[in-house]
């Protein structure tokens, strides 16, 4: 029984390269329960809630309004979960996010009247950044455990919020300021002809991939498939005519999660961050500045918390000294439900977002089903554990299955042997 890395560890890349797995195989791998368990858990929960709500004669659970609402409600916590995932991947831990968000909100609200929104927002972001930097510097340079440091800053920053608000609710009184804040957060953007847009995008990307592959001598098949799919989707648009109508915070979430995911997945920064979290000493000896990456993760988290704080301020138009208290646990739960390891080196921001969606889907489900408050706690707790169990066990089974699949193809030593001629060509 050797300690296995969490399933998520085995995501993405490993089925791709050298062996030259096909595009389809890669997609199939990404969809296995062991990899995408959290997604299946979400689907299951939504399915159960939809069934229940139709049985109880309530309005359709999957109505566009409700789906838009769930996305809107979870977006701020999901944004926090994205940044927290980055810190967790780097091998650290941050309990102070909710306090920092509240601090950012309090800053924004108390300054927006006098400075205007852009400046107030800048100050709030700067405040978040400073909090993150303080966390990072103390944890990395003094070398104290991140749990105790961020517990300390959580308390201290909450104290700052208290001082700033003087124990009362702060509101944005100035109507001008209020309007600016509302514009930042409230309302929906509609993207018409979403299918056409996605289709054309896929067409362009596919063509580019195919051309690149041909240039580097690879197979253009993958690009062609993408392009073809894009074409089909684009052609369907006039018929189906979907439009995408989401709240502004949902768009913020999509952009932030998308960019963060792409950076982690496709850039040197991402690769190094995972290396730092997985084995800091090996990363350091490979020439990676471990402190820079870890402190950077904290700073990003602080900045993100400040930003979410401003969004909260804009959403609630008020913040009281205890505002957002306890949100850090929800955020951590989202990240860990998404399969992020508490010990660093593993995690996916997209799955953390799904983790957040699970938690908010439950809350929303209770509201829609009008379930008695007394039973909600027991259900949430149980669902969280069961969701985690489902894909822990699914991941384990997948592994066993793989053995059966591939047990018959052993390598012979000749194949892997060191051939003298080849060695000459080293360096």
């Amino acid at each position: 029984m050797r300690t296995m890395p969490p399933e998520s560890a085995r995501s993405g890349a490993r089925h791709k390269v050298a062996g030259g797995k096909t595009f389809g195989a890669r997609a199939a791998a990404a969809l296995r329960p062991g990899n995408a368990g959290v997604v299946y858990a979400l689907v299951l929960i939504v399915a159960v809630l939809t069934l229940l709500s139709s049985q109880m004669g309530r309005p359709s659970y999957l109505s566009p309004t409700n789906v838009i609402n769930i996305l809107d409600q979870s977006s701020l916590v999901a944004i926090l979960a994205v940044f927290t995932t980055v810190v967790l991947i780097s091998g650290n831990f941050d309990l102070s996010i909710a306090s920092v968000s509240a601090f950012g909100a309090a800053m924004a609200l108390s300054l927006v009247g006098s400075l205007g929104l852009p400046l107030a927002m800048a100050v709030a972001l700067a405040a978040g950044l400073v909090c993150g930097a303080v966390n990072g510097l103390i944890v990395q340079l003094v070398g104290i455990n991140a749990f105790i440091v961020t517990l300390g800053t959580m308390t201290a920053v909450r104290g700052l919020v208290l001082i700033l608000t003087d124990g009362r609710t702060i509101t944005a009184k100035d109507p001008e300021a209020q309007r600016a804040l509302i514009a930042l957060q409230s309302g929906y953007w509609t993207v018409p002809h979403i299918l056409a847009i996605l289709g054309v995008a896929a067409l362009v990307v596919g063509a580019a991939v195919a051309l690149l592959a041909r240039r580097t001598g690879g197979s253009p098949l993958k690009g062609a498939v993408i392009a073809a799919a894009g074409l089909v989707v684009a052609v369907l648009d006039p018929v189906l005519g979907f439009e995408l109508r989401l709240s502004k915070p949902t768009y913020y979430l999509i952009v932030i999660a998308g960019v963060t995911w792409a950076v982690l997945r496709y850039t040197v920064i991402g690769r190094r961050l995972y290396a730092v979290g997985s084995n800091a000493e090996a990363a350091r000896l490979s020439g990676i500045n471990v402190n820079r990456y870890r402190i950077g993760a904290f700073v990003l988290n602080g900045l993100g918390s400040g930003f979410v704080g401003v969004l909260f301020a804009a959403k609630l138009l008020a913040i009281n000294p205890t505002g957002l208290q306890g949100t850090e646990l929800t955020v951590l739960a989202a990240a860990i439900l998404g399969g992020t390891s508490l010990f660093g080196g593993f995690g996916s921001v997209l799955k953390s977002v799904v983790g957040a969606l699970i938690l908010f889907t439950l809350d929303n489900g209770f509201n829609v089903l009008n379930l008695g408050a007394n039973y909600q706690g027991v259900i949430v707790g149980t669902v969280v554990i069961v969701a985690a169990a489902i894909y822990t066990i699914a991941g384990r089974q997948r592994q066993v299955r793989r053995v059966r699949d591939s047990g018959a193809a052993p390598q012979s030593p000749e194949e892997s042997g060191v051939e003298p001629e080849r060695q000459e060509s080293l360096r």
């Binding site: 890395p5 560890a9 085995r10 890349a13 490993r14 089925h15 791709k16 390269v17 050298a18 062996g19 580097t216 690879g218 496709y266 850039t267 040197v268 920064i269 690769r271 190094r272 995972y274 290396a275 997985s278 084995n279 000493e281 090996a282 990363a283 350091r284 000896l285 490979s286 020439g287 990676i288 500045n289 080196g345 593993f346 592994q399 066993v400 793989r402 053995v403 699949d405 591939s406 047990g407 193809a409 052993p410 390598q411 012979s412 030593p413 000749e414 892997s416 042997g417 060191v418 051939e419 003298p420 080849r422 060695q423 060509s425 080293l426 360096r427």
Partner: protein, 503 residues
Amino acid sequence: MVDTPLLSLEGVGKSFPNGTVALRGARLTVLPGSVHGLVGANGAGKSTMIKIIAGAHAPTSGTVRWKGEEVVWRDPGAARKAGVATIMQHVPLAPTLTVLENVFLGAPGPWRLPRARRREFDRLLRRVHYEIDPDAEVADLAIGERQMVAILQALAIGANLVVMDEPTASLAEGERQVVFDVVRRLSAQGTAFLYVSHFLDEVLSLTDRVTVLRDGTVVEEGPTAAYDEDRLVQAIVGRDLLAAERRAPAPVAADAPVALAVRNLSSPAGVRDVSFEVRRGEVVGIAGLLGSGRSEILHAVYGADSRARGEVLVDGRPVRRGPRAAVAAGMALVPEDRNAQGIVGAFPIWKNISLPDLASLSSARALPREAAEAERAERAIRDLGIVCPGPEALVTELSGGNAQKVVFGKWLYGGARVFMLDEPTAGVDVGAKADILDLVRRFAAEGGAVLVVSSEFEEILAVATRVLVVREGRIVAERPAHETSEEELLMLANGFGGAHDAA
């Protein structure tokens, strides 16, 4: 009774969840009181077999017999109770406990640290002629000392069969001798040993019988007396090996440009005013006893020890402190503790290999080109003969020697000019060792400078042009490789003789 084997394995197979088949119908027979050698190339399945014997893995097929009776170990505790003590290859100790407590980790009895244990420990130390602080915390020990603690742990339980998986891989000569003495003495008293090692001379001199594994199956089995080194090598790698033996290179011309210059380097970790130079084309060996500070010197030179003070120049240009600057200046470090310092366990082989040189494998130095990385990994797998299912295999799933090759492979293609190798062949099989030493020579031949730390003086002499002897963090002697011998190096390392030529 003498006829019943103590332990026998029949038709044992083992496949891992990732699809690797490590053993296929393997058999093994250990007679009571004998010393049985188990040899094979990296990834042949030795450790896997040993884990099955120890009850740490369940075999997928086949039977294990202990004292004639078929057994299925429920857990390692069951094997221990039955009388099988195992020293695993990746020394599993509890780092936050003391040496004494680790040695008696599984000991029964109601009390945590009875006085009797302390006396028992003293007796044990006296019996094996070894000295170690019983109250030192294992986390503070160097890797070699930890290996000794693991050995003591296995000896302490007084087993019928002691299984040793590469016990000497990270030991220096002195400790190695301690282990040999123990094996000889205890086997004379009736304890059987199963001994895994890549040092074939050890196997030849120590064991009564030997089993050769190749690719998960037993290819040969017989009395050790029937083998000599060449035949054993042939059996292990399945081909003749070009002489890996001593080929002491000639000293480099005195006017070759200095690639690495170290001046007055000291560190609180135990490096005391070290100065030396390595010229292009030179392989400089660093010899010393366990804990003499060899690793600390490499870390100080590399800048990994931020408290080190002194000057380091590469090609005449001073290098800022820190591994980042060192890598940028063309230095490369292969650390001795590969699991803690060398590999990123969560990464597949290809991501490990590209890690130090990732930027140059990336478009615009920012977007890694995975195809190029994979290509490099495949090249390393070919060049170094890494036994693995493919570049996507996780390094934690590799056998010890193959993981070591991955660490080596990290630095091969990135244009490093100064190589610092800390025990580069620890746990590497004979074939691969020859390949690695060849590589080292070639670095030098192509104008690189190499610094090699090795506990095997023989290996140092085989590859180095010059040897520095380290004692207590100081360079106490310097010898051209072709003018010295293992015996002399050992004397110097122990603080005898050579007072006239302090560095």
